[in-house]
């Protein structure tokens, strides 16, 4: 106590004129202090951006977030009609929901005062205004450091670009285990993809299987809704990836490649078991199927799992339809097709090949032989562009050419004949198949290639998938885009020497739709052979005249009900291209739906 002078109490006097350290209570409410720019206050959610994926609720460590269905919102591709509601009795204001928000819609504001005796008022559905519908500045928001998603895809291994245009080797090698796990770990399991997938595949579930390293379980999930996973793992149109919520801010999960990883890496025995385990031995009835394409195969397989006896009629030598006679080897190797079809055969489906319905057996006969018939005869008659000299015998068409090419690559036929300077007219995926196949054939045979590709639209508006457009160009296909063919040009001897095209322009109209306008200005593209790949039509010759007149057919599509049942003919179901237009995964879905429909129909008869 000696260290205190007798004057030291005087020090206390200076505090008389100092501001007090305390704050009057009145100020707390009347002039609340503004929170910092980074403050984790109450949530705000931009409903226009929110896709209802529920990832915020998944990460929430306190289970404070419930996804509420909102009346008036409609489920659509990549959007769930739900919005997060937050229980402030549980919320710990950790902002992990903000950091992981897939759609950039959640944030936190500077608002932080809510006092009420009613506990229910602490359960709150954030929108762009706060809990009291008063706008506050946005405070805490995610940045690239606090990001909790993995926005970029993991690279899939491909064969080297050099020389890939000289063989039919498959371009994509597939994921390594490490890469597959890394890619699978990006999934947030929201499941919006399942809605968009025509077959409603259990995508989050099988990605989880990959992530957990249980491929057998993954294969089981695949066969739940799709018996053609080998095929779809390679050439599916992957609408699911367009829906994937990770695509909102980054790259969607490579769902197709993960599916492929499962089929490529599941031990064969497990894979066969996944396919056959569900097959029932009991015979409920007999069903005949027209066409062994994806829809027919899928319908046959699922009918087998329900215990029906199934015969599939195929005109060609091998079952598979478009997957056997359409897609080229470098995208869909024969071994993959065979694996899927073999499994379907192992499930007990019987294939009657080389037999065309309408030629070798009539539809009437099938109706009598079977309890129900499923028609999935596909589109096999090529469309012809209405241009001058369109009927010239030198013009070739995609279905025939691609079938020949497939037969060659699987060693069942010679290399098709072709010229040295060829022109391909198209714009969709199939036309790229033709062009890239021709390009390969020419290089294999002549060491050089001259494939000219004509389409009406510019690159970004082509119907084909992006990778086709990029890869075909890399491989050496020459593009003549924004050009509409008007005539096949013949010399005096009647042989083709080129195609006359009109120059076109594609512009956006007011509603944002692309519109193509062609001018009078013309130009000639030289080549001695023309391949047309502008779409196909169905062949309905097997329908008897009396029936055909009663069928409702609109733009080549037969009208059916939800389950694929043809109106007016309860015993007849239809699916695939002839109902929906060309898309493999939709065909698989149709087949599955029809199988369920057939089962219900036949059960109702008993």
């Amino acid at each position: 106590m000696k260290n205190k002078s007798m004057f030291s109490p005087l020090k206390a006097w200076k505090y008389l004129v100092k501001e007090p350290v305390t704050i009057p209570k009145k100020m707390v409410f009347d002039e609340p202090r503004e929170a910092s720019d980074n403050y984790r206050g109450f949530h705000v959610n931009d409903w226009d951006k929110c896709v209802g994926c529920g990832t915020c609720g998944e990460i929430c460590p306190t289970n404070a977030i419930t996804m509420l269905p909102i009346e008036g919102l409609v489920e659509s591709d990549g959007h769930k009609p739900e919005r997060p509601a937050i229980d402030y009795g549980r919320c710990s204001f950790c902002a992990l929901c903000v950091d992981i928000c897939t759609s950039d819609s959640l944030a936190m504001s500077k608002e932080y005062i809510h006092i009420s005796k009613d506990a229910d008022t602490f359960y709150f559905l954030p929108d762009s205004k706060g809990i009291h519908q008063v706008e506050f500045d946005i405070a805490y928001n995610r940045d690239e450091v606090s990001e909790l998603l993995d926005l970029n895809r993991y690279e899939i291994e491909e064969i080297p670009h050099e020389g890939r245009n000289q063989s039919f080797m498959e371009l994509i090698k597939g994921y390594s285990k490490e890469m597959a796990l890394a890619e699978a770990s990006r999934c947030v399991e929201c499941g919006v993809c399942t809605f968009t997938c025509p077959a409603h595949m259990n995508i989050p579930e099988y990605i989880r299987s990959v992530w957990q390293g249980d491929l057998k379980e993954g294969a089981d999930w695949l066969y739940e809704t799709n018996p053609l996973s080998n095929v779809c793992g390679r050439i599916c149109t992957h609408k699911c990836e367009t829906a994937c919520v990770l695509g909102q801010r980054g790259e969607p999960v490579a769902i197709r490649w993960l599916k492929r990883y499962i089929v490529d890496n599941t031990p064969e025995g497990d894979f066969v078991e996944a396919a056959t385990a569900k097959v029932s031995r009991q015979i409920n009835g007999r069903v005949g199927i027209i066409g062994s394409g994806p829809a027919g195969l899928s319908c046959g397989y699922y009918l087998r799992t329900m215990g029906y006896e199934v015969d599939i009629y195929e005109e060609k030598e091998l079952p598979g339809g478009v997957i056997r006679y359409g897609a080229p080897e470098y995208r869909l190797p024969e071994a993959s097709v065979k694996a899927d079809i073999d499994n379907i055969e192992k499930s007990g489906v019987k294939f009657i090949t080389g037999t065309k319905v309408g030629r070798d057996i009539s539809l009437e006969a099938m109706k009598n032989k079977y309890d129900a018939v499923f028609s999935a005869s596909g589109y096999w008659i090529p469309k012809v562009l209405k241009i001058d000299n369109k009927d010239h015998p030198g013009i070739r068409f995609s279905p025939h050419f691609l079938a020949e090419a497939r037969d060659f690559t699987r060693g069942m036929g010679p290399m098709p004949q072709f010229h040295e300077d060829v022109i391909v007219i198209g714009g969709g995926d199939v036309s790229f198949d033709v062009a890239r196949t021709l390009n390969r054939f020419q290089r294999m045979k002549n060491g050089r290639a001259n494939v000219r590709f004509i389409a009406r639209k510019p690159e970004e508006h082509l119907a084909a998938s992006r990778e086709e457009v990029v890869e075909a160009k890399e491989e050496g296909v020459v593009y003549h885009l924004d050009r509409s063919p008007t005539a096949v040009l013949l010399d005096e001897k009647g042989t083709i020497y080129g195609v006359e095209v009109a120059l076109c322009e594609t512009v956006m109209d007011e509603s944002g739709r692309a519109k193509t306008v062609c001018s009078e200005e013309k130009e000639i593209i030289y080549g001695t052979e023309v391949y047309m790949a502008v779409g196909n039509d169905p062949d309905f010759v097997y329908f008897p005249e009396a029936m055909l007149s009663r069928l409702k057919i609109d733009r080549n599509k037969i009208a059916v009900n939800q389950q694929g049942q043809v109106e007016g003919f309860p015993w007849l179901f239809a699916g695939g291209d002839i109902v929906r237009g060309p898309d493999i995964i939709s065909a698989v879905a149709d087949g599955h739906k029809a199988a369920v429909g057939i089962d219900e129909y036949l059960m109702s008869l008993k």
Binding site: L68, I70, S76, D87, Y123, L125
Partner: protein
């Protein structure tokens, strides 16, 4: 680190260690059987590891064992030694170390309460500590499900969303 190597060599020479791990430069994990654990701890205490930093347990339910972890610390070298031993889960009885580290008394009581491991020789350890009127499995055991417990013991409060707006714009 030199003192670390010396320590490892010395311990290996004196005791039969089941496993030796080095998670970082100043941390050593040694596995030892139940019989020799006390001798090892005494030795460590006599050689500078004067502080018991933590005593806890891990429930390896799939192996049907409890693993006791004794963390001792030498303030002069900055080395932590994690001495571990395993007990069968169905006969979770061990001997106290309060004779070596008196500070273990409450840690043992803690482990007894949360894992059900009994420490013979520590009478106090059998008394409850944190949990009042606990009538369930020791809660840190892996087979104790806290969610089921709270569902059973506490009423669920239903969510009554009265605030859900009607959205007019239909896309």
């Amino acid at each position: 680190m030199n003192s670390m190597n010396k320590l490892v060599e010395e311990l290996k020479g004196r005791f039969t260690l089941l496993e030796v791990l080095l998670p970082d430069q100043q941390q050593l994990i040694v596995d030892i059987d139940q019989m020799h654990l006390h001798a090892l701890l005494s030795h460590l205490k006599a050689t500078g590891f004067r502080q018991l930093s933590l005593l806890t347990a891990v429930d390896w339910i799939e192996e049907n064992t409890f693993q006791l972890v004794y963390i001792v610390f030498n303030w002069d070298t900055g080395i932590h030694v994690l001495v571990r031993t395993k007990l069968p889960r169905d006969k979770a009885v061990f001997r106290t170390i309060t004779g070596i580290y008196p500070g273990a008394q409450y840690y043992e009581r803690d482990v007894h309460e949360f894992f059900g491991v009994a420490f013979e020789g520590n009478v106090m350890s059998f008394k409850p500590l944190f949990l009042e009127l606990w009538d369930e499995l020791p809660p840190m055991r892996k087979d104790f499900d806290p969610e089921a417990y709270s569902r059973e013991k506490f009423p669920e409060r239903p969510y009554v969303p009265q605030f859900v707006p009607k959205v007019e714009v239909v896309e």
